[in-house]
């Protein structure tokens, strides 16, 4: 199955939150107790049972209201930091370009969470499992659209093969650019290009998005430096003591030792 893309055209989003409900309905996720946070937003962040939600930002400038509503979920990076961070080989990529967490393998260590630039995966500490958007892989592999895409009434979400959708996104960007020079695509230039691609009407910052998401350098140091070097250190240490034992043996130090100790028994320090 070819690589897929979900194209999120924020200029068409009306913030109805149907995507969030459809996600819960399809994935049998329970509702959570919430409070209104700001504007019409009630879901503050991802949780083990909230895999997608809509963030609201109101920017009023020059007597013009820019009501930025954006659906957030896992970006399904082509080069996902979470996968690299995973302690249990639970995170894997699919042909469709999705980044998934194998719930059988996941131990809930949460290493993926903080290494994800957007901190998407969330761990349920009761069951020690980390979860996030699955891209509705079960639906997609059955030839259906993800639940959020299917439900979206204003047409802000589109789903299809990566290349086709990229063309749609580029065309839509070009169209929007005619009247709005700030329009930009978000997702194709980092993390190996993401499977969920956004069209924004303003800077990522004004949507509360990470302006330049990268796989953290600490992660590279951790996995590509510390682990091999640590392994080498332990190995070297082990080799060294083996060498030490052999050397001492060869030099007869073990034999001398018994004598020395026997002598020393009756001696004082000096």
């Amino acid at each position: 199955m070819a690589r897929k893309m979900v194209f999120i055209d924020t200029s068409l989003c009306t913030g109805c939150k149907a995507c969030s409900v459809a996600c819960k309905a399809w994935n049998d996720l329970p509702a959570e107790k919430t409070k209104r946070i700001v504007s019409y937003q009630t879901q503050a962040d991802f949780t083990p049972t909230t895999w997608t939600y809509v963030q609201f930002r109101e920017n009023y400038k020059n007597e013009k209201m820019q009501f930025n509503m954006i659906k957030l979920q896992c970006f399904h990076c082509a080069d996902p930091a979470c996968m690299k961070a995973c302690s249990s080989d639970a995170i894997y990529k699919t042909e469709t370009g999705y980044t998934l967490i194998d719930q059988d393998k996941c131990i809930g260590c949460g290493y993926c969470t903080k290494n994800c630039p957007w901190e998407v995966p969330k761990t349920d500490s009761k069951i020690n499992k980390t979860s996030k958007c699955t891209g509705c892989i079960d639906r997609v592999e059955a030839g259906m659209k993800p639940a959020c895409v299917q439900t979206c009434q204003p047409g802000a979400l589109q789903f299809g093969d990566y290349d086709e959708m990229m063309a749609v996104a580029q065309a839509r960007l070009a169209e929007l650019k005619l009247s709005n020079h700030k329009a930009n695509l978000y997702g194709d230039q980092f993390m190996g290009s993401t499977t969920y691609l956004y069209l924004l009407e303003d800077t990522p910052y004004s949507y509360g998005l990470h302006p330049n998401p990268v796989s953290p350098i600490s992660l590279t140091i951790w996995k590509d430096l510390v682990h091999p070097l640590g392994g080498i250190a332990i190995g070297a240490s082990a080799v060294a003591i083996a060498g030490g034992v052999v050397a001492n043996f060869v030099m007869g130090n073990y034999a001398k030792r018994a004598k020395k100790i026997a002598e020393s028994h009756n001696e004082g320090g000096k």
């Binding site: 068409l12 989003c13 009306t14 913030g15 109805c16 939150k17 149907a18 969030s20 409900v21 819960k24 309905a25 329970p30 509702a31 959570e32 107790k33 919430t34 409070k35 209104r36 700001v38 504007s39 019409y40 009630t42 879901q43 109101e58 009023y60 209201m65 009501f67 509503m69 009434q153 204003p154 047409g155």
Partner: protein, 807 residues
């Protein structure tokens, strides 16, 4: 709309919105309250359509707009009037359309006048109009006299011109708070991109000037020639899933099913009824009586006309007035099906007072509503409430078979998907059981008063009522053939008394062996979203009403990209992609019938001026009986042309006529009113996308409570600063009628307006909460105004005066 076009319904369909070039969305927050609209609006936008949104708040719909204007609630007529004035003054109207498809050329009676906010015929005593001066000049044949040009001072067009000349951009701006340039921009944009489409919903209707606001839309669309065309028209986005169907079925005191005017005590006989309402209403009433009384309805007994209870025009309470009638002791028993008045009625303390005075309240609903538990509301003492309450748990929509009619008159059938939870009953079974029990209690009675029950035709199955049998009763039967009616044409052609139908506009929905509401053909060969083989739209499966107006004098489509219907000279027939909305498909475009684009109006044209008029008479009236007119015009009770009146509670005097501040005919139910000194802010109320109406269902759905857990008061930054409130702080909102405490939502989406030179603040609050359910919350209707439009009876939820302070 009915007084303008002849039918009160949404003219086009949801799918048809993709054909528009411009949208004026004013009085509708469709992205939230009718989200499906955005699917089709965005289709049109992808093709370059422009969106104009006018609203007291920058809503989620406004986020999609090319032009947004913030308006003071309740002042729409002022800027719409200015648009009308601008179109007339600058000749931006479609002259061919105006001359041929509207009554612009018709001459108005010399007696007609308008002075200082009042039309001629006003009776200050009864606060009602005598319509007789709002008439046409008639010729000997009872036909309106047409002027030769639009410049004739007597003609409708000139009346319109004079009337709206007072509505300048300057005046409109002072009243509405919208800058003059922006009103002009809106007017220019809407006139330039055709077909233009207007959406409205409760934002337009929940005013004491509701009908006249819609009349403004009708006038604009008639002037621009946008009615009857794909992508044009006026979309009344109706509130509930089957509100079109339930009004079709006359769950209103002034109608019988199919919009038959309800007989009053003035119409002693069936003939009196026909005289008053025209033969066009006589036939469906007879068909209805035959459906209700079967073989017991005969020509000899006026088809059972006497069995119908008659209205007393001086005691015809509308729903918001019901509760006063309970408190006054008239009503002792309320049967309440699937509505939640305790949350939804404005100035809601009136509701508990009324319900407490009943002997019995019966409530049927899916969840236990606030209304069923009104006696449990904190602050009330159940021991002092003598009302017996019976609650009947009802089956949910997918647990029962039946049909619903959506906003665009589309009757869709569904089968039961799962059995009702816990074996609860569908409302249909409840009604069937109750009627049968009542009938059994009266069995053997000889009292004439019990005849309607004992003679009724009521047989929908032995144990569980069969909804298909009911739909077939609506679809109708032909007594001559003994078969179900095959089409509305068959009904129209049949002589009076030979057909029966429970709702004549639904005739043809169930031809023999078929259920057209259950059709699933979703092909759209024209790409216009007509989907003719999907379900069934009344009347006669027409998808775009008045589509005759999309054709020229030769009956050919004026817009080659949006062809709906046309005259085919080869077949001598109106044909097309849509069902032709013509009086007679065989009458060509040059015949009187073939010219009529608005055949439900007695004039056959769209009514810029809602004149009183009855068309024609039956050629040979039966002996000793007066001749019956054919068709009467739908009237607007508060004036033949729209006029701006301030809301009942308003922060400012009426700039146009200070002596007539409010709609003089408004039905005022509330008894407590506030003044701008004590209550300086304008409150507007609304629904949200996450909850539905009074929340009886949605506040019991955890997923929805998660995304909208609580009500709030939206206020501008200026107001927040003034009262010392930050985002999320608790505030107390109060009016002369009550108060409530919610958290503040401080936003730039509401700005301080300049009204007649003074700063004016607007407060916005959703209203879907009540004291019960999984997610209880304070009810905004504690503070709202119970004063209703004189025609539609819609209460003025959208504006009242309040104060706000830190709680």
């Amino acid at each position: 709309m009915s007084p303008s076009f002849g039918r009160g319904a949404m003219t086009n369909s949801w799918q048809d919105m993709q054909n528009s070039e411009c949208f004026l969305i004013a009085g509708s927050n469709c992205a939230e309250c009718h989200p499906i609209a955005m699917k089709w609006v965005n289709r049109a936008r992808a093709k370059g359509a422009k969106v104009i949104v006018v609203d007291p708040r920058f809503t989620r719909t406004a986020s999609q707009a090319d032009i947004f204007a913030q308006i003071r609630p309740g002042t729409d007529i002022a800027y719409l009037g200015a648009m009308i004035n601008y179109y007339i003054e600058n000749k931006l109207y479609d002259e061919y359309y105006v001359k041929n498809f509207t009554n612009a050329l018709y001459k108005i009676s010399k007696d007609f006048a308008f002075n200082d906010g009042l039309f001629s015929g006003f009776d200050p005593e009864t606060k009602k109009y005598d319509y007789s001066s709002w008439a046409y000049q008639l010729d000997a044949e009872n036909k309106p006299i047409k002027a030769s040009s639009l410049d004739d001072p007597d003609c409708v067009f000139q009346k319109l011109k004079t009337h709206f000349s007072r509505y300048t951009f300057e005046v409109a701006s002072k009243i509405t708070g919208i800058p003059q340039e922006k009103i002009k921009l809106i007017a220019d944009t809407f006139a330039a991109a055709k077909p233009g489409n207007i959406f409205y919903a409760l934002g337009m209707t929940q005013h004491t000037t509701a009908v006249q606001g819609i009349r403004c839309y009708a006038i604009i669309q008639l002037l621009l020639g946008n009615v009857g065309k794909a992508g044009g028209g006026i979309q009344a986005l109706r509130g509930e899933p089957n509100v079109q169907g339930s009004t079709d079925m006359a769950n209103l005191n002034a109608n019988l099913p199919g919009y038959i005017p309800y007989p009053t005590n003035q119409e002693k006989t069936l003939h009196d009824f026909a005289m008053k309402n025209g033969s066009v209403q006589h036939k469906p009433l007879v068909a209805l009586l035959k459906a209700w009384f079967g073989k017991n309805a005969t020509a000899e007994n006026e088809y059972g006309y006497q069995w119908l209870p008659k209205n007393n025009p001086s005691n015809m309470p509308i729903q918001p007035q019901f509760f006063n009638k309970m408190a006054e002791g008239q009503f002792k028993l309320l049967l309440n099906w699937g509505s939640n008045s305790t949350v939804s009625i404005p100035d809601r303390k009136l509701v508990a007072r009324g319900l407490s005075a009943l002997e019995m309240l019966v409530v049927a609903d899916v969840f236990l509503t606030e209304t069923a538990q009104f006696w449990r509301e904190p602050g009330l003492n159940p021991a002092e409430i003598p009302t017996e309450v019976i609650f009947l748990p009802a089956a949910f929509v997918y647990e029962k078979a039946g049909s619903m009619t959506n906003s665009s008159r589309l009757i869709q059938w569904k089968e039961a998907a799962i059995p009702p939870l816990n074996g609860v009953h569908p409302d249909l079974d409840m009604l069937d059981h109750i009627f049968k029990k009542v009938r059994a209690l009266y069995a053997g009675s000889n009292d004439p008063k019990d005849e309607p029950i004992l003679k009724a035709n009521w047989d929908y199955g032995d144990h569980e009522a069969d909804p298909l049998k009911v739909l077939q009763e609506l679809g109708g039967y032909n007594d001559v053939t003994g078969k179900p009616i095959a089409s509305i044409g068959e009904y129209l052609a049949a002589p009076v008394g030979t057909v029966s139908t429970g709702c004549w506009i639904y005739t043809g929905v169930t031809p023999e062996g078929q259920n057209l509401a259950d059709r699933r053909g979703n092909a759209d060969p024209t790409g216009l979203g007509l989907n003719k083989d999907y379900a069934f739209a009344w009347p006669g499966n027409i998808r775009v009403l008045y589509n005759r107006a999309s054709c020229d004098a030769y009956g050919q489509p004026v817009d080659p990209r949006r062809k709906l219907i046309w005259w085919d000279p080869a077949q001598n027939l109106w044909v097309g992609n849509d069902g032709p909305d013509v009086a007679d498909k065989t009458k060509g475009p040059d015949t009187p019938e073939g010219k009529q684009a608005f055949r439900m109006n007695p004039e056959g044209v769209g009514r810029l001026f809602a004149a009183t008029y009855k068309s024609g008479t039956l050629a040979t009236p039966p002996e000793s009986i007066a001749a019956v007119p054919i068709r009467g015009a739908g009237m607007t009770v508060d004036g033949p042309m729209p006029e701006f009146y301030e809301p009942i509670e308003s922060p400012t005097p009426n700039l146009l006529h200070p002596n007539v501040q409010n709609n003089p005919l408004a039905k005022i139910v509330s008894t407590d009113f506030g003044n701008p000194d004590e209550y300086p802010y304008v409150l507007t109320t609304y629904g949200v996308v996450e909850h539905f109406c009074a929340g009886a269902i949605t506040r019991n759905i955890p997923w929805l409570n998660e995304i909208a857990p609580e009500p709030y008061a939206e206020i501008s930054r200026n107001l927040a600063h003034k009262i010392g409130v930050k985002e999320g702080d608790e505030v107390e909102v109060s009016s002369a009628r009550g108060k409530l405490v919610v958290r503040a939502l401080v936003t730039d989406r509401i700005q301080t307006l300049k009204i007649n030179g003074k700063d004016q603040e607007t407060i916005g609050m959703p209203w879907s909460w009540g004291f019960a359910s999984l997610s209880p919350g304070p009810s905004t209707n504690n503070v709202t105004m119970n004063a209703c439009d004189p025609g539609a009876g819609t209460p003025e939820y959208k504006c009242c005066l309040v104060n706000i302070r830190r709680a």
